[in-house]
Symmetry: C2
Subunit: 436 residues, 2 copies
């Protein structure tokens, strides 16, 4: 049975413009997929459907977060006085070690999944920790919520505290356990596999060649996607050059182990990607997760995203908690525009990113990593947010002006409904010690 | 009769560190000024005072906004796709023209003052428009609210729409009317003159030499402070060079007319200030209003604030609505750190700004433009915010970590009480068409 929603519908098909339909109708079929968007029920072919009238609200695709570290959620907005490598040693690794404790993990991960939901992020590419049990717990929380996620048990076996290291064999075994649970859970919830493992070598400095090779083999054997970090910080890049002397560039170090586009791959940051690495990203169709808040906070630099788009590279957005401080992808959009404005200001070679471009990156582009997600074109899964922005509207604004103002000024208070794969997601239940 | 508040007290005396007193007491005398901060009532000399126990909340100085355009409030978060000069022509000037209409002005200004209050900004340096009547109305709204403001009727008589131009004589007459009302209102509310006019030539391109001269004379005659814009954008600077050929720099163009430190002066932006202009700012003790969100949004550039501090220049923060999109000065603090991180990243010459430095800029430094405001040292007016951050506290954090997290993650929801000059400010009443 089809459902139909009526609202001011805004989405993107392509980077350079919004599709806008005021008081439009959108049809959603029994599989949770969009059947069409139209100005009236007849054009939608849904005369008999029950219509949910969302009044004067905006209806937009839900947000997708292409890079976020769930176990760093406690550290969000903390320790913003360090660069990448000391920040990892002093704050991040000690926090991640706590996730050996399942009850600590449950408390933090519940809050994390709840807040993703709160800010309208329905799909995310998540780094967990090295710990298999708490990673499984995180996957279950996403499943219980009905939200989509690719969740990575982080592979690491060098240059980090012993408590975060794991043998290659245990890493492989852990992934195979997660895959087995995924398959059984999938049957249980009888939904598409919205929550799946993703192969996650932390970054080259954390993984020996044996670990990287095993990661690449796992990805190939089970057809699993891959995520990692790439060319974020100059000290990090110099370190990788030392560690992987035979690689032509940082990206090539992943490529040699089957971790660079052999299966769908997303690489976070790419602040300093150029030349050979940029060509390799294009050739391998690796997706970039642009994380502008993090790149500011950890003083990494400003990624050349306009250039990536000009070269046809696919770019989505990531909150990168806790290098980034904003879980809301709307706020990450604002920063993405601002970074590109500073690029523009400093060299005037390329125009800065527009609102439709960053919106497209956060919805349709990033969504493509999860399937047919992120647009309202027919056949896309209905991942959507309803925005009631009346408290931001103290004058007459067009529907697109309202969207721009929501992106710049709004927060979770204006999001009244959230849908993932056609289902309304109403929260993740008890937060334990939470005050909410 | 003294009042005493108990809470976790945090403030700054100097840039490089926070003063922190957990479960401390602060005394406030009958004039609304701080008498002291101490660990117990006896040390405070207030054994008999009634204590307001604020529990586990943080108590910090209120925010001061050194640069904000009240009539651009409707445009907040809009039109973020233009640089300064076309942005003025296409969006800002047309909006400001509407403030000839008093009922429009009242609706917008009420919302503006309410939202300053909401985000914890108790003092601000405000640009109104050229219109005397609506500027007076804005001043009355601040007075009714009990909040502090220096409010500028904007002087402009060239290079803008005719509807925003005024003769030199009308500008002078308008200011004298505002001064007269200020004096009578001041008596009425029997409070210190927390709301006063400030001489406000928009910027050099908007004012003929005659207008600038009259502004300088008015400032001198009545001992009024001065605010304007300085060296924000490279096209603007080139234009000023054309218009004021005899000036050695943009700042010198103000200085020649008595508008650069002859009375207390704050200049917004200073993105491109260097050399002679930097020396002149120091010599004249001109204060800088750093507006990082605006400098990103309007693609102006990144102001060298660390250098200003190293040179002993006084720098506060400004939201610069609607070039800036964040009315919250807390969010402006975050951006100020981020801009300085990009400076650091690009040249590694100077360290980036720390949290205590930006907090000090937003409180004690900016506050100094309004009197003894912005700290909890004895004799300072008690301008304060109470922050109940329990919804951000999902683990154990130190008091300073809680402040950092509030600054990065919090919003108006966590501010439970606001004080200005010792008085609790509970809002500005009816917002007309508002939904609140």
């Amino acid at each position: 049975m089809n459902k139909v929603y009526k609202a001011h519908i805004i989405y993107t098909r392509q980077a350079d413009s919004f599709e806008v339909l005021e008081n439009g109708y959108i049809g959603v079929n029994g599989k949770g997929c969009v059947t069409g968007v139209a100005a009236d029920l007849a054009s939608l072919g849904c005369e008999d459907a029950e219509v949910t009238d969302l009044g004067d609200c905006l209806l937009i695709p839900a947000m997708n977060d292409l890079h976020v570290h769930a176990p760093q959620y406690r550290n969000q907005g903390l320790a913003m006085d360090l660069e990448l490598l000391p920040w990892l040693q002093n704050y991040t690794f000690p926090e991640e070690m706590k996730f050996a404790n399942l009850s600590y993990a449950e408390r933090m991960y519940r809050r994390f999944v709840h807040d993703l939901w709160r800010f309208g992020t329905m799909r995310s590419c998540v780094f967990a920790t090295v710990h298999t049990e708490s990673t499984r717990l995180l996957m279950d929380l996403f499943r219980d919520a009905g939200m989509g996620a690719l969740v990575g048990k982080v592979a690491m076996n060098r240059n980090c505290p012993a408590g975060l290291q794991e043998s290659v064999e245990d890493m492989v075994k852990g992934y195979e356990e997660l895959l087995a649970c995924s398959q059984s859970s999938r049957r249980k919830v009888s939904e598409a596999d919205k929550v799946r493992p993703i192969i996650t070598p932390r970054f080259i400095p954390s993984c020996t060649p044996e670990m990287l090779r095993a990661c690449g083999e796992l990805a190939g054997k089970y057809g699993l996607p891959v995520q990692s970090h790439l060319s974020e910080n100059r000290d990090e890049i110099a370190w990788v050059r030392e560690l992987e002397k035979e690689s032509k560039c940082y990206g090539d170090a992943y490529d040699r182990y089957g971790l660079f586009g052999q299966t769908p791959t997303v690489m976070a940051h790419c602040v300093w990607t150029a030349g050979e690495e940029l060509e390799l990203i294009k050739r391998r169709d690796v997706m970039v997760a642009h994380c502008p808040t993090s790149n500011f906070n950890v003083a990494s630099g400003m990624a050349p995203v306009r250039q990536f788009l000009d070269e046809g590279i696919h770019v989505g957005l990531g909150s990168d908690i806790s290098g980034g401080h904003c879980l809301s992808i709307f706020k990450v959009m604002v920063y993405a525009i601002q970074v590109s404005k500073m690029h523009y200001q400093q060299n005037h070679k390329r125009p800065f990113l527009t609102l439709s471009e960053v919106f497209w990156m956060a919805t349709k582009e990033a969504g493509s990593f999860f399937g047919r997600v992120g647009s309202f074109e027919p056949g896309y899964e209905f991942d959507a947010l309803v925005i009631d922005d009346k408290d931001l509207n103290h004058d007459n604004y067009t529907v697109l002006e309202r969207l721009e103002r929501y992106i710049y000024l709004g927060d979770d208070r204006q999001i009244t409904h959230r849908f993932c794969g056609g289902r309304e997601i109403t929260g993740i239940g008890n937060l334990g010690t939470s005050t909410e």
